[in-house]
Symmetry: C2
């Protein structure tokens, strides 16, 4: 029998308890040992809840209990999670977490501490909710040089964008509805401004490239500026607009960016709609690989956390090799990132000026006499685009993957 403790009895924490209780026999069989939740730590009380009898408010009770071999950290936020996790690892307890802020900031350090103490720091649920992605990157995609990892990493924004595309609604209308349905938080900034996706692509690219990618270094744009009219063009073109987190190797430099991209029907992620997430990688041998599933939600996320618990139990005396060094990975200057652009500028009958500036472009007409001209450029450097666009009265520009 292995005792575990769950830190935080919020959505994911209660999901972890539910998953372990519901699929107890199955999980024990897979782990090769019986798993028992000995403690749940939360500042709150939960009178009448089944966890009442195992609820503690003092972390030291857990830390000092030699029986507890695995700790599930699902409190979220950097502190006190960071302190708690360090203490646990140093006491020889493995830690499984869904906490993307913690992993993005201290992943490399915590992995090193885990290695030093011959235990494991696992974080499958920190990216892509229930989608197995961290373990496949670490243990399956070990052969290829990965030159791109791109993902739809945030379910809230993908829900909003899908709804805008399908129903021709404005961002504000859909956001309000998403908030009412509980798909978006009352303060939606972390999602709609891309901060959540930014932490997730920081984690993924750190794992793929083996060094610390600081999320502060990743150029990040949200979806708040995307309009109904952008989707009218996108639908006309048979494309879709998705918030992508991307880390791409171009000429030996890694460029990382979070921004809305227009993707076409040939893109692996074109079918990833609603609250689903999808993560796409390109390797030199494997070519394209894609992973798809529920990127959030109580039970899918909890399932991923518990899969880490199973792994931690199976690897009680072995550190699972994870290559993510604390050395900083210097990212390429975003001005040299290369992509195409969908552009809307004010004015009509300016096609020749546009062609003079951008070379070969594809003009797009909604045919409604609006005083604007829209076009798709070929692939070019960000910096070059920004220079060239100065001569025009820009309404909006969305990067493209095609």
């Amino acid at each position: 029998m292995i005792s575990i403790a769950v830190l935080g009895y919020g959505t994911v924490g209660s999901g972890v308890v539910e998953v372990i209780n519901t699929n107890h026999r199955h999980i024990n069989r897979r782990a090769g040992e019986e798993i028992e939740i000995k403690y749940v730590l939360d500042l709150r009380d939960f009178p009448g809840d089944p966890v009442e009898s195992i609820l503690v408010h003092d972390y030291n009770i857990i830390l000092n209990d030699e029986d507890v071999k695995v700790i599930v950290e699902v409190m979220g936020g950097v502190e006190p999670a960071n302190t708690f996790v360090r203490q646990a690892l140093m006491r020889g307890k493995s830690v499984c977490t869904s906490n993307k802020e913690l992993v993005a900031k201290y992943g490399a350090e915590l992995l090193a501490i885990a290695k030093e103490h011959n235990v494991n720091f696992l974080f499958e649920a920190s990216v892509g909710g229930g989608i197995p992605i961290i373990r496949p990157i670490n243990q399956s995609l070990t052969v290829d040089h990965i030159d791109e990892i791109s993902g739809i990493l945030n379910g809230t924004t993908n829900y909003i964008l899908t709804k805008m595309a399908d129903e021709g609604l404005s961002f504000d209308t859909v956001l309000k509805e998403a908030q009412e349905k509980g798909y978006a938080e009352r303060n939606p900034e972390a999602d709609v401004c891309g901060y959540d996706a930014c932490r997730k692509i920081a984690i993924l690219s750190s794992l793929v490239y083996g060094k610390q990618v600081d999320y502060e270094d990743i150029y990040t744009e949200g979806i708040t500026e995307i309009t109904k009219r952008d989707f009218e063009y996108s639908n006309l073109l048979g494309t879709s607009i998705k918030l992508l987190g991307t880390a791409k190797k171009i000429d030996d430099k890694v460029y990382a960016i979070v921004a809305p991209f227009m993707i076409d029907e040939n893109h692996c992620l074109i079918g990833v709609n609603g609250v689903y997430n999808g993560i796409f990688l390109h390797g030199d041998m494997l070519d394209n690989v894609m992973f798809y599933g529920r990127g959030a939600g109580k039970l899918p996320t909890a399932s991923a956390v518990v899969s880490d618990v199973v792994d931690a139990v199976k690897h009680r005396h072995t550190n699972i090799m994870t290559i993510w060094k604390p050395e900083k990975k210097e990212l390429g200057d975003i001005r040299h990132f290369r992509c195409g652009f969908f552009v809307r500028v004010k004015g009509r009958n300016i096609e020749s000026a546009i062609t003079d500036a951008f070379g070969k472009v594809k003009f797009v007409e909604l045919g409604d006499n609006e005083e604007e001209t829209a076009f798709l450029t070929e692939t070019m450097e960000e910096g070059v685009f920004h220079e060239k666009i100065q001569a025009f009265d820009l309404i909006t520009r969305i990067r493209t993957t095609f």
Copy 2:
């Protein structure tokens, strides 16, 4: 330094050599040790080929070499692969294979022998080519009760069906073209009759349900009967026809089938086109998860084989737990499998007879005065469908997932 041997220098075997040589440093870093190909076994000679100096014709040289710790079996076919693999495992050598016939037939036994000798029998490349699927099932999807695994598991047939759908061509025309391009074998039976997909879903369902699913027990239909006209209906309906391998739990019984299915735009696998493969699972906690990538091809398959080599090197003295018992999994009688049907019967103005027999159906009209009536049924048992259809002059029926 770890020495390995490659059995078979065909497409995958030469791919394995190429992958290891090309990404040598990267692979060694991931494995934590230097990997050296000490022998390649093949009956043929390859004068002038880089492997000439390490080519052997006698397996005993490899078997008796204590230095060889990992054997890559990529010969294909049940014998002599089976004998060679057994001998290797019993000598304490791990084996990595892409051989689906071998794994489908003897997977459980070979896993047991590997466990007994504290080595590993790994077969990531036997299903889905480069797509990580075996390891995720074993190590990530450990928490959920999986009630369905369905896949587009054969690239050749998916290429043919995609081409038929997109270009309105007949099966024979596309098959001929696929053979010319090297996408289909001169004897295409294993692919187009579904035998290849059958072995793959046997492997996947054995792993998911933990017991031996014999491929001989799986009801298997190929794609040879699918016509241009079926695709005209399918396109009109906004659906697609795909060869699926499916293992589904209904009322505690597992039903396994390989057959063409009509799938609609909400199906996870709708976007899996051309030579790509996709594998979809549904779990009680995770909901839907999907894995996508190149299901065949020299380098993607070789990449998956080498990822197993890396894993075997990392787990030199530990058997990786894999739950696949040799006990036979009894499958549900296919007559009780439940699905909808797309049906074409001869005759017109027979709607009321059809409705009398099948209850609520959806009629589909191509509008070309052909002497036939087409319709979609609701979900029903196979056996019930077959009884009811007796009263009609059946042209074709394709199962549906919706």
